[in-house]
């Protein structure tokens, strides 16, 4: 078993605060990781938590979801069917920069004499607030207060209020507000998971406009052709005499404001920022859109933005909060921090996906993986079904690309790309990319959970059925019947979720998920045929569906081979996993983790060592396919082999540990998931937030501690004894088919209340509970 990394309690860094993450002291040590922790985003625009002053900086980051450059993937050794189109989410012009000079002295945090310093990720209001009291070398005391927000209400808008007051003297003050073209950053380290550079600056300035305190830029990515408009406008409030000058150049735009500040008189600069992107519209059009957004924002002012942000957050927390009372007082903060970042990664994605790091960094080139469906969608389905729908619709929009990809890899149907922005496969290492065919089934699993939970049959009819047909086709063609054996359907040569093993036969997770995919396709097609003949006819037209193939899917599902070791009573991760040598954990020093940075893939592949939960994940997603005893034995076998080198692992390990009653591990892994970023467990939070683990934190609370399961849309709860996971109370709300269910676990009681809706039948510890609107039902949280 991997030696356990000691989780540093982040209290010394981030003090206890249920509604905020607060930095009380500036230190260069945390500059990099706090750029991620304090990032703001609304699912469309993302801004890393860079300082207004532009420096010190680890990686300056401003992103627009889906705005990317492409590049031809170069292979040292090429082969047929390799992915061709590299895709990278681009850094866009940075509007966060507001530099300050007092007496011509620059304000620079590392050298400034700071009387007070506080930076606050204000999760209740959806803002990033900073208050600094700076004493200049000349002894002038300068108060600098700022609030930054990326609006949830106004998708294309961000704003910063920046207020400077020289408290004890008059002084000339200069404020330089910029909209800065991105600078190519040097690579910081050689972690192969990080983004690669471009030969040329990928972003070309096509248009510049400036007028008064406003500048608007039009840009285009060289190769993808995508266009971007962005702009900044300013309002200045002060009683002091000012001069201002706006300029535009190759480096971007800036407004220089010089003020003869009088003692105690505040200078307040409000900066409005807007971003619009497009695959086709000319930069001029986008610039016009920017002007309109800025017109509206400047006209209504900053306070209404704050108000709408607060209203959005109130609604979010009402629906989505997970309330915890714990002897460990910081738990509430950890959980809210995770939920807040999921919101930021997804809220206004609308036509785009959710990157592995959301909009907080460029790791993995900003690509969308299976994480979104597998780790983030469960939270969204139960709390924000509209956002969940948008994300599934986005996958549907890439179905044609998935059809093309299936052709490229010589299969029927559709194969969704392992990693992508555009819908084209962007994985340049197919054994851990394209070979992860399971992504097809992951998306269909999320589709089923969405439809079952929301009751959105229309989505299933209109989009889901077509995806089901094409994904089922892939499975039928990919798998097959071994020579001389038409009793067992096998799937060879695939990679499961665990990337420390590749290109194996009959990966248990893949086969189970493929069966689920095939069954759901059969069930959906038959339902349409029997109940909606017109939609069935349309589906046939759209896909050329042949009833004979549906029979083949049924048979493949019925005969799907699931590896099982009778002797040990466990499911081998793949058909030959148990034959491999054991990894020598004893002789693997702690500094050799994550293993992928120290061992050749071939070394990992030939050992029993696991990057992330694989069979254990299957036991969560398709738990009804396993007996409890199997779950125990599988967990006990695989958990010691699991390094958790992937941030996707801990939350799942926690959920299954909870189910089998290993509450010590359930707690520990949940804690790991919740603290993945705040305690920087992976050592790479500086590169971006681990959005999947954040979704996993919610799952660990709801599926793990509250023991919820939702096979076929029916909710079942089997809460763990709260005290064993160091909790006094756990409460959350779920949206189920338009109804709102409130669940509160407290001590040894569970209370279920249908806050809105007519009637909801749930199962608590194997007993049915019927809930009517407004009624609370309290039961013993544990059976017997």
């Amino acid at each position: 078993m991997r030696p356990r990394k000691r989780v540093l309690p982040p209290e010394s860094v981030y003090p206890v605060d249920d509604w905020a993450v607060v930095e009380r002291k500036f230190t260069t040590e945390f500059v990099a990781q706090n750029e991620t922790i304090f990032a703001l985003a609304n699912g469309f625009i993302g801004m890393r938590g860079n300082f207004s002053e532009g420096r010190p900086v680890f990686e300056s980051g401003t992103f627009v979801n889906g705005f990317h450059e492409t590049w031809p993937i170069v292979y040292g050794e090429d082969a047929y069917g390799f992915a061709r189109t590299g895709q990278t989410m681009l850094n866009v012009p940075d509007g966060k920069v507001i530099r300050l000079f007092v007496d011509d002295e620059p304000f620079f945090l590392p050298t400034a004499s700071l009387r007070t310093f506080e930076r606050r990720l204000n999760m209740k209001e959806g803002t990033l607030d900073r208050e600094v009291l700076w004493e200049t070398p000349a002894g002038k005391r300068v108060s600098i207060k700022s609030r930054r927000l990326v609006s949830f209400e106004h998708r294309h808008l961000a704003a910063i209020e920046y207020e400077v007051t020289v408290l004890n003297a008059d002084a000339p003050v200069a404020v330089i507000s910029q909209l800065q073209m991105p600078v190519d950053e040097p690579e910081h380290d050689s972690d192969p998971r990080k983004a690669r550079g471009f030969e040329e600056t990928p972003l070309v300035l096509r248009l510049q406009r400036s007028r008064d305190a406003r500048a608007v830029l039009g840009l285009q990515a060289r190769r993808s052709g995508m266009t971007l408009g962005c702009g900044a406008d300013h309002t200045i409030e002060t009683v002091c005499p000012i001069r201002q000058k706006a300029t535009c150049g190759e480096d971007g735009a800036e407004l220089v404001l010089t003020v003869l500040a009088s003692r105690g008189a505040p200078i307040r600069v409000t900066k409005y920022l807007t971003y619009h992107s497009s695959r086709g519209a000319p930069p001029e059009d986008l610039a016009d859109r920017c002007e309109r957004t800025l017109d509206r924002a400047a006209e209504s002012g900053f306070q209404p933005l704050l108000d709408s942000q607060r209203a959005y957050m109130d609604d979010f927390w009402h629906r989505c909060d997970v309330q915890l009372d714990s002897t460990e007082r910081r738990t509430q903060q950890y959980v809210r921090f995770n939920l807040f970042h999921i919101l930021q990664a997804t809220a206004r994605a609308e036509g785009a996906g959710v990157g592995a790091r959301g909009l907080t960094g460029q790791t993995y080139e900003g690509h969308y993986f299976w994480d979104a469906e597998t780790y983030v969608l469960p939270f969204l389905i139960y709390t924000n079904p509209r956002i969940a729908r948008n994300l599934l619709k986005f996958r549907y929009s890439q179905l044609d690309k998935a059809r093309e990809r299936a052709l490229e890899v010589n299969t029927k149907g559709a194969l969704f790309p392992w990693r992508t922005i555009t819908g084209e496969e962007a994985s340049a290492f197919f054994p851990a990319g394209t070979a992860q065919y399971h992504i097809n089934a992951d998306i269909m699993h999320a589709l089923k959970r969405y439809v079952d939970t929301t009751g959105d049959e229309e989505f299933l009819h209109k989009y889901g059925a077509e995806m089901l047909v094409e994904t089922a086709r892939l499975w039928e063609d990919l798998g097959g019947w071994p020579p001389g054996n038409d009793e067992e359907f096998h799937i060879h040569g695939v990679t499961g979720p665990d990337e420390y093993t590749a290109i194996v036969n009959d990966n248990a997770f893949t086969n189970l998920m493929a069966r689920h995919n095939l069954r759901y396709a059969v069930q959906t097609v038959e339902m349409l045929r029997d109940q909606h003949p017109d939609k069935y006819a349309a589906l046939q037209r759209e896909t050329g569906l042949d009833p004979a193939e549906v029979e083949r899917w049924r048979r493949a599902a019925e005969r799907m081979y699931i590896p099982y070791d009778e002797e040990r009573g466990i499911h081998p991760q793949d058909d030959h996993f148990l034959e491999k040598e054991m990894w020598d954990f004893e002789r693997t020093p702690a500094d050799k983790y994550p293993l992928l940075l120290h061992y050749h893939p071939l070394t990992l592949y030939r050992h029993q060592v696991i990057k992330q939960a694989d069979v254990v994940l299957a036991m969560f997603m398709l738990g009804n396919e396993f007996s409890l005893e199997q779950k125990k034995r599988n967990f006990e076998y695989y958990d010691p082999l699991t390094t958790g080198d992937s941030s996707l692992s801990a939350c799942i390990q926690s959920i299954i540990a909870a189910e089998i009653g290993d509450l010590r591990k359930a707690f520990r892994y949940a804690f790991d998931a919740a603290l993945m970023d705040l305690a920087d467990l992976g050592g790479n939070v500086k590169d971006g937030a681990h959005i999947a683990s954040m979704g996993g934190t919610w799952m660990a609370a709801v599926y793990g501690f509250a023991g919820m399961r939702d096979y076929d849309g029916r909710l079942r709860f089997n809460p763990v004894p709260l005290s064993k996971v160091q909790l006094d109370r756990l409460g959350f709300r779920l949206q189920v088919r338009g109804q709102t269910l409130r669940v509160v676990l407290e001590g040894d009681k569970a209370t279920y209340m249908l806050e809105s809706g007519n009637e909801l039948k749930i199962t608590h510890c194997d007993k049915e509970v019927v809930l009517l609107e407004g009624q609370a039902v309290t039961v013993a949280s544990q059976d017997g």
Copy 2:
């Protein structure tokens, strides 16, 4: 089974000629492939068969073995332990170019009115000869005769004699002789097996000297730092008045010769070319070496070069020729063409290796693979043991790099690179590169064959033992004992020779070869310990050898798991090969071959389909590990699955077909091997000659038709009935421990004669035959 490609009889292209390949008609259709067919080389310098005129040209090629540029391999997705150093054999300045103008009209083959044209690869004399009679637009008849050679005797020297005579008139004649810097050629097609380009011209001109009719250049490769000197000198013989001018520039050097030619008076230009390369010497030093080579050459003249070349060839053919009488009259030509090109690829390699295409093209970047040991060394061991020794010594020189590589991939011992020039792994796709660990055992197998056949024990003591220790260490560490089973030693996660399957468990070829490697290591270490204690002590010092590890090697070899399917009585290619779906050959159109250009690796990996002989190759290399019945069953199982998409396949299929008595296939596959290039069976001869298949052609004759086997150095012959493979007579010589054995099969008789040496015991059809010097023993070629 793959639909068989019809072999075009090349007679229409190359008429019957036992000692030459002749082109009687110029046609643009064959320009590309004839650049390979008519290539000249001596194992150090290589020159494609480009026309003197420089045009028309497919790929101009002049190479110096081992002279390469390096480049950082870029990965779209990188990981620990991936190969870092791309290496490419460079095109060097081209001295073949001699342009001709008569009446200021350029001589250009495609448009010239040619009264006669003949180009001849003169294999008896080791030259490329051309005779042309050109009628200019003005009706002047110009005879152009040239002979080109790359000297076997003088490693650094090539020469061209070029003679022009205006037969029926006086005319101004200009001859421009160049030493031309390489021009970056555009890529001709997108075959992923082809070389990649550089960002910058890799070769930098460092020095230019010119004097009289001589020019010398000094060059350096930008990144590898390797240096090159090259030079050209000319002598001119004519009675006509001449003017000459030598110049040097960025494009290289040229000599412009203008002649007022009188009717019937020949103008003879002799051009001497030299190349010297180094890893460290400054270009100035190399230029000096060039001057000395040119001094000597120009002083002695062209005829002595021709004479020494002829003497070398006489000796070569005496030792190496395979004489065939066949109803198919062209057979002799096919075989000699193959042998001649092996000589050209290897003769003076000396400190370098043998690239997959020799020195005839840049495919595979000029890298050295396992081909050299597995396909080329058998011929050399039996005919040119000194060259064989040089090549094995070259591998030894890269042992330290192999030790470093083993560390990089987390194993003990040494791992030879799958492809390389420098000794560093250059394979950018590890599933078909580094995963082919079998290269270690391939080299050790060649070592054993070399030592057994030559009796060169000193080589074993001095170099072989150390390689054996380090390669055995790798196997012991790579393989292991499955959990709970210490009776079977398994090797997981490797790729065998067949690249249509990758990263498998217990590849039969690999396990058999690893066992052979381990056993040979144990045997050698014990022999040294018992018989040469001083050498054993030295080996211990050099390698830190521990007697306990030798015991572990012995045990690993004893318990090596060899997959075997009892039911079918065959050896599965790997432990799970037989579980895979069958490839649908019926529905694979002929234009989809080679499959690797039309199917994704994952598609190939999950089917029973074979690029090249794998188990069948094991049955050749370690034939004493199989019963004849097993061989038959294995061959019958695998042969229909084998596409032969690799040129390494046919010769091996032929040998085993011969052994099991399938003589129709033995003949057909031998024919495929022999005609691989002359009939362009792979469709890519334009990119270079398939040297391994050429070695395989010799093997098909000697091991296949003559049924030779040499397990443990003892020669056994089991000739096939010659008439069944369309032969009347087959004769060849073998060098065995310093003795010369002549073997002649004729009709139903076999004659063995020890032409030099004392005594040699061989086995013919399971009966011992004792040969004494000068005695011929004739026996019935078939048993019973």
